[in-house]
Structure formats: structure tokens, C-alpha cells
Amino acid sequence: MTVAANDRGGRADRPPRTQTGRGRAGLRRLGQASLFVGPTMVILLVFSVLPIVVALVTSFTDLDLRGLRDWSLIEFVGLDNYGRLLSDPRFRSAAGNTVVFVLAGVPLIVVCSLAAALMVNYGSSRLFRAYRALFFLPAITNIVAVAFIWGFLYNTDSGLINLILSWGGVGPLPWLDQPVMAKISVIIVAVWQGCGYNMLIFVAALQGIPREFYEAAQVDGANAWRRFWSITLPQLRFATFFVAVTTSISWIQLFETPLVLTHGGPLDSTVSMALFIYRNGFERNRFGYGSAASFLLFLVVVTVTAIQFKLRRQDSNV
């Protein structure tokens, strides 16, 4: 107590010079700080902030492989790229696919990761820690490995899934060879991989619910189902919101799963916005056009994040 009081008093007694950081002492502080913070800030600016500016600038040009070699060949095209994007059927279909992925994926992730969290949270023994590990493992598995494994599981003739279905008398399904099925397959894999992190978030939230709530409900004779609906779910409101928002943001950028699992096919049915950007940038070397798409995607992400902020602020005001 007294130490804290002394400390605070000492700080107030200091000359204001060192507080505001002006003058020679301030300069020295700035020098020291730049030693610690400087390298990081430079790298962050060059690899996080600068790219956004570069994307914006190149989106107004026709930069391609020739332009990369000789900058004098780059031409300013104004808003051409954006105009072409909006009328490009491939871009439209990529945007549509992304919407489908988000609309299907986010609710599935919320439900599945909550279910996994409830299961893992049922007990606290070593056994349940092992269960948690099994649910979490896909989340830290490399995406290429995941895509290979699922590609094999989905294989029409020698895949495990169709083998299991055949035991139940269901004919072989074309998991990756038919547009609608391929979309479903991509969603299944991304959900399987995405549940792990969100399960952890739900588990943390579940363990934060005061036990007294459940004890009181039990005394009042509420059964398990009732306790879940009236205590657990409302208490998880914030966690659910968090999971839904972060998952939407990451699914808007869904990229690696369709890239490695289906290569965007069949018939471009699994090309997402990010995959569209990658293809234009690195397979067709249309950097200007791809940058325009990047910038649009960036705007979407920023908008969703801003909406999230607004909703959360309203939520906390209530």
C-alpha cells in the first residue's frame, strides 16, 4: 500500500520535462525507444502498410510482367481495372462463391466448435485433454497436407468416404467432380480445420460461467436441456459473436483450401475472391488487375470489421 502511494507521489513530483518527453532527455528517450521499436515498425510499415498503398496505386495501372521489368512501360489506366472487374463474369462468380462459403461456413463453424467445446468441457480429466487435442489437431496441420488427405478421402473409387457410404447402400458420390458437390467438399474441409481455434475460445468462455448459476438452476429443478438454453447459451453470447465475426472475416479471405483441394474447379465453382486475386497476379501476371481486386477485398474486410465494432459498441451499451 505505502509503496504504491510513494510510487505515485514520486511520479507526480518529477519535473514535467521527463514526463512529456520534450528537451534533451526526451530526445534520448526517443533514441532508446527507436532502438527497440524502430526495426519492428519499419518492417511492419514496409510489409503491412506499404502494400495497401502499393495495391491502391497499381490498381490504377496496367502493370504486368513486362511492366515489372521496365517501369516505363507501365501505363496509368484510371478506374479501368475496377470497371472491368465489376463486369467480369469470373470475378462475379468468385464473389458469389465467396458469399456462399461465408453463409454456409460461419454457422457451421459456430455450431460445430460450440459442440466440440461442450464435449471437451464435459470432463476435466487427462482423457478429455486428449479429446481436446484430437479436435484441435487439424487447426495446426499444414493446409497442403490437409488438402491431400481429404482429396484421398473424397476419391470417388478408392476413397474412404464413398466406401463407408457404400456400406449403407449409398452410391459413390462425385465429391470433387461436380460443381455443387465440390463447394460442399471445400466447406467441409475448411470447417473441419477451422473448428479447433474456435473450440478453444468457447471452452475459455464456458469455464468463465460462474458455477453458482448452474447450482441455483439445479436447486430450482431445471433439467440439463433447460440449463443449457437458459444459462449456457446466453452466457456465451459474447464468445459466439466474437467467433462469428472473426470467422466471417477469415472466410471472406478463404484461399488455401480451394487452391490446393480443388484448384478452383470444377468449372471455377470453387474459385474464391482471394483465389481469383492469386490467379490474376501469379498465374496470369496481371498485377494491376489483381491489385484492383485486392483493394476491393480489403474494403470488404474493413467494412465488416467496422460493422463489428459498431455492433459491439451497441452491445456493450445495452
Binding site: 527497440f36 482423457l127 487435442a133 489437431l137 484421398f152
Partner: protein, 347 residues
């Protein structure tokens, strides 16, 4: 009481990372950052419900008649049976979730003709190691492995920079600190997929395409990691640092002799996460390693899809090589990894 002991505190509470006390230091930034630290859930407003005393006094447990205790005993036994059944069912669900990994292992030991048999065999009938041998003999997996090692090692250097930045933001007072930190947090919002093309252009301009440094650069420092370091280092007592300053120690000396040794727990968690992220990284090596001599494991693995697309045995063996090191690290450090990911949410 036969009830299982459930910890009252979240299992993640005894974390060395001070963000488990969100009310204090982090609140200003959890408001500014795109994601709130998940550890703040316990402080979420309680649901609106009928106002009711939380903990009711239990009815006094007076000595009950014999038949009543018998009924209670029976009920308790039934409850235990239910628990056992539910535990087994959950175990089955968890195992089902991991079936793809078993399928991977099973496939990786099948010879080329068996892996494509229809219907497939569940376990390899004709067990072979040849897929693994081919990866390293016929294909360049030795090179890929070495490259991945270099990339992981280089990204560990980033750990030092992040720790230093965390210290700077936590303990050094300088003008513009708040604004700079806000910039750091704002970069969390910028997705890799958006910066793919421009980052390639920037690295191309710097002549860093197809170099190891170029491959690690885009993820060399990450905002969230800096945030966690800052959170941790704020808990280091000021008098300790002041004393060293009075003794004439420079800030660098203070950092390496006092702060670094004290930061063991967070360094451990961050190093493990850094290893996993570096080992698994795919987008940046894919874009920036333009020659096969610089391919990492994940890019080399993806390459199998072209030439060997129907050689599932080979592909499963490659996937296993990719997965096993992470699996081993995970088994030994599950607690740390889980804690790290819980703190970092999705990122």
C-alpha cells in the same frame, strides 16, 4: 461429493500472460484492436435474467432415513453410468474427427497398386516403407526439409524483434508511443490475401524474391505477438528496472540481463507458435520461392499434385512428413499451444 472437480477458474487462468486481467492494462487497446482478447469473456455482462440470489444456502443435510439414502445411492450410480456412456460417446466423436489422420497413415504405407484398389482396404495389406523412401531418394524432400529448417530458424530471429518492441511499448516512455502502438494493432486487420500481390512487388523491388529472407519477411513481425509481449512485460516491476538504471545500465543491457530472463514463459509459448507458423507457412513460400532449390516442404508437397497427382501413397507419406513434427511438438507442449491460441484467437 461424487461430482468431478471442475476448476472454478478457467484452466487458462494461471497463465503468465497478464491479459488474464483484462480490466487493467489491456482495456484501452482491446477497444482499439479488431479482436478483443478472448480472456476477457469472463467479464462479459451477465445475461439479463430473473434477478435471483446466485448461491442459495443448501438445505441442511439432516440424517436421512435408510431407504432415502439407498435411493440416493441408486441415483448416484445411475448418474455415474450416464457419465461413463457420455464420456465414451465423446471419445468416439473425437476419434471420428481424427480419422483423416489415420487414413493418411494407412495410405502412406500402401504400395501404388493397393492405394488405388476399389474398394479400398482399410489397413495396408502389403505394408511398405517405399513411399517415404521415394520422397527423399527420387524427390527433393531432403532439400525441402533443409529449406524449411532455415525458414523456421530465421523466423525465430523475428521473435527477438517482437520481444524488443514489446518491451519498448511496455516500459519505455517516449513521444508518440500510443499512436505507434495503435498503428501496430491496426495492421492486424490487414489480411495476407490482400497484400499478396503488392508484397510480392515490394520484395521484387528490394531484390528479395527467391531468398530465404524474402520468404520470412512478410511474417517476420506480427502485431499480435508484439501485443502479447507488451502485455507480459508490463507486469515486470518498475523498481527493478529503475534500480538497474540508477546503477548505470543501458536499456539494452537491462533488456538482455533482466527482461529477457524474466520473460521465459511468454518466450516459450511464442517460440512454439513461431515454429508451427513457420513450419506450416504456405502462401509466402509459394509466391516468393520461384526456384525449386528454395522450396519449403509445403511448397514441395504441393508440387506433388501435378506430376504425381494419383500417387496417393506418395502424397500421404509427404503429408505425414509434414504433419508429424508438428504433432510431436503438440504432444509435448499442448498446454502452452492451447494457451497461446486461446489468447490469440483466430490470428
Amino acid at each position: 461429493m461424487s461430482e468431478p472437480v471442475v476448476p472454478d477458474q478457467p484452466a487458462l487462468a494461471p497463465s503468465p500472460v497478464p491479459s488474464s486481467t483484462p480490466g487493467q492494462s489491456s482495456s484501452a487497446y482491446s477497444e482499439a484492436g479488431p479482436y478483443p482478447p478472448p480472456a476477457s469473456y469472463p467479464s462479459a455482462p451477465p445475461a439479463a435474467g430473473p434477478a435471483r440470489p446466485l448461491a442459495r444456502p443448501r438445505p441442511p443435510t439432516d440424517p436421512a432415513p435408510a431407504d432415502l439414502t439407498l435411493a440416493r445411492l441408486r441415483r448416484r450410480r445411475r448418474r455415474r453410468t450416464v457419465r461413463l456412456i457420455v464420456t465414451v460417446l465423446i471419445g468416439l466423436a473425437a476419434l471420428t474427427y481424427a480419422v483423416p489422420f489415420l487414413w493418411m497413415l494407412s495410405g502412406s504405407f500402401k504400395p501404388a497398386n493397393e492405394v488405388l484398389s476399389r474398394p479400398p482396404t482399410l489397413l495396408p495389406v502389403d505394408f511398405t516403407w517405399s513411399n517415404y523412401v521415394r520422397l527423399f531418394r527420387e524427390l527433393d524432400f531432403g532439400t525441402y526439409l533443409a529449406n524449411t529448417g532455415v525458414v523456421v530458424a530465421l523466423s525465430m530471429i523475428g521473435l527477438l524483434l517482437r520481444a524488443m518492441a514489446g518491451y519498448g511499448f511496455a516500459k519505455l516512455r517516449f513521444r508518440g508511443r500510443g499512436a505507434l502502438f495503435a498503428v501496430v494493432m491496426a495492421t492486424m486487420m490487414i489480411p495476407d490475401q490482400v497484400t499478396m500481390i503488392p508484397t510480392f512487388l515490394v520484395l521484387n523491388g528490394l531484390g528479395l524474391v527467391n531468398t530465404y529472407i524474402g520468404i520470412v519477411m512478410p511474417t517476420f513481425v506480427t502485431a499480435f505477438s508484439i501485443f502479447l509481449f507488451r502485455q507480459f512485460m508490463e507486469t515486470i516491476p518498475d523498481p527493478l528496472l529503475e534500480a538497474a538504471r540508477i546503477d548505470g545500465a543501458g536499456e539494452l543491457r537491462i533488456f538482455f540481463n533482466i527482461v529477457w530472463p524474466l520473460s521465459g514463459p511468454i518466450l516459450g509459448v511464442q517460440a512454439i507458435l513461431c515454429f508451427i507458423a513457420g513450419w506450416n507457412s504456405f502462401i509466402w513460400p509459394l509466391i516468393l520461392a520461384t526456384q525449386q532449390s528454395k522450396y519449403t516442404l509445403s511448397v514441395g508437397l504441393a508440387l506433388l499434385d501435378g506430376q504425381y497427382s494419383s500417387e496417393y501413397g506418395l502424397k500421404m507419406a509427404g503429408a505425414a512428413v509434414m504433419v508429424l513434427p508438428v504433432l510431436i511438438v503438440f504432444v509435448f507442449a499442448q498446454r502452452h499451444i492451447v494457451r497461446g491460441f486461446t489468447l490469440s484467437g483466430l490470428k
